[in-house]
Amino acid sequence: MTKLLRPTTLVSILVVLLCVVMAFAPQLIAPGDPLAGTPRDRLLPPSAEHLFGTDSLGRDVFTRVVHGAWLSLAAATLAVGIGGLVGGAIGLLCGAARGRVGTAIDFVVMRFVDVLIAVPGILLALIVVATLGFGPWSIALGVGLGAAGSFARIMRAQVLRVRGEEYVEAAAVLGVRPLGVLSRHILPNAARPVLAMAALELGTAVLSVSAISFLGFGVAPPAPEWGSLVSAGRDYIATSWWLTVLPGAVIVGVVLAVTRLARVIGESR
């Protein structure tokens, strides 16, 4: 428990909770309308009234960042979910098959997984986006497939590690069927590092999703999304720094918090 009480960990948990609130109930934090602007108030610097200033249409940037959390975080979470499921399944099967019937299958599949890890994730995501069409959900699929390789590798490593433990051998000797061993003994014991990996990949996914949105392949304007918010501020970088720096700082904060939690989860007891 003590490691949960470390200040950096507490702050990280707080940031993640704040993200959940922003994603599901943005009105609680920013009651305004993210799409409504007052042209008279355009490009105002940050103040008490507009925490993050206003953009070129007089819209409140803070409100747009808070309301943009849903798309950014949902796409990133979905990406990690896809990557975790696809990669986890591959890793699980390879790990379980190795040494029994499928050592050769395991070898070949894992070499493909190596390639999936080696190819830059953002390029894989972009080829998916170009095939499927633009939008946050095809970005999520692309980023997820890019992350699947890492999940497959770590899942396989964990399954192989746990399979050698005495309690798994004991269960097998006691006559528990292979599927039962897998679900009751191997999976729960392999879960922790996979979970740490998922947290780490969530940070990477937030970065990739916002990068691809920044490039202009995400949600269509005027809907707010973190990457496209930074992109929209690009034309005003010389005069209105808050349009890019503040949404960017939010991305950095979230990624740092998630990465920190990944470390905490992954630390051995």
Binding site: A118, P120, L123, I127, P193, L215, I237, V245, L256
Partner: protein, 352 residues
Amino acid sequence: MTRAGTALRLVAPKVLQFAFVVWATYTVTFLLVRVLPGDPVLAALAVQSGDATTVDPEQLAALREQAGLDGSLLEQYLSQLGALLTGDLGTSLATGRTVVDMIAGVVPGSLAVAGLALVIGVLTSVVLAFLASIAPWRWLRDLLVQLPPLGVAVPAFVTGLILISVFSFSLGLLPASGSRSGDSVILPAITLAFPVGAIFFQVFITAIREAEASGYVFTAEAKGLGRAAVFGRHVLRNALLPSVTSIGLLIGYLAGGTAVVETVFSREGIGRLVVSAVLARDVSVIQGVIIVVAVVYALAALLVDLSYPLIDPRLRPGKAAPKPAAASTFSIVPEADALTSATTDPKNGAAK
């Protein structure tokens, strides 16, 4: 066994591995494009004409043939693979030029940025690691070790825009965009150097910790050598060796990062090519770039693998000394992904 025979036995598997990486990358991208719903030719045409419903079937068939997308899946796969073997990456759906031409035209710009970024990133992290090891104050050492997560967490597009704002608009020192003048390469390279340096730093500092725990460092300290001398003579050289293997990971980051950086700085390059290909739904160009990146990556891996025994005398064949476990040769992907090494270290798991 002759000398040449031994050399061949060492080199052949690595060359085979190189060929495999390229083939597997082609297969993965081919499957991705084909398994996902959506017709790349129709999509590209729709972008060009702005309307997908009025496509002339003859024009469509001609375009399919030109792009090598006609016939059954297996035929397409084999014919494209055959073309790949002769160095042909297909034809762009959007421009009609060959993909090889398009990529070759923009490679120098990207290489300049990526190369400079690699140099800046690696040099900075070596200096920072040096400081983190010999700084007399504990808080400074801790602070320096905490830096890399920040380098990875800041999106390149934010770093780039801030650099433009400060160095181009406020100070007026460097150009904000374009690729004509020589100094236009500096800001994009610095932007890319942040994540690349951060990743290298993490691999490097782990290797340093490992070297510091070894017997020869203990001996050197016992002899009474100063901290800087121990670091420079014993730790640095031994830590750099395993770190060289992370070059593959770095190449991946550099290749992926160019897409964002070249867009931010409006430079011609591979990344820009990919971004405009996505805009035009030009799948064959993106596939070509991914294969080229995989070739560069696999080539780097091959070179590192082959040069390793040259750098490290302990790994030369024929030496009686047992191979040290720490100096493992290059696997297809560096095993300890820098970011995850803390969470996935197999030793931690086993020692628990």
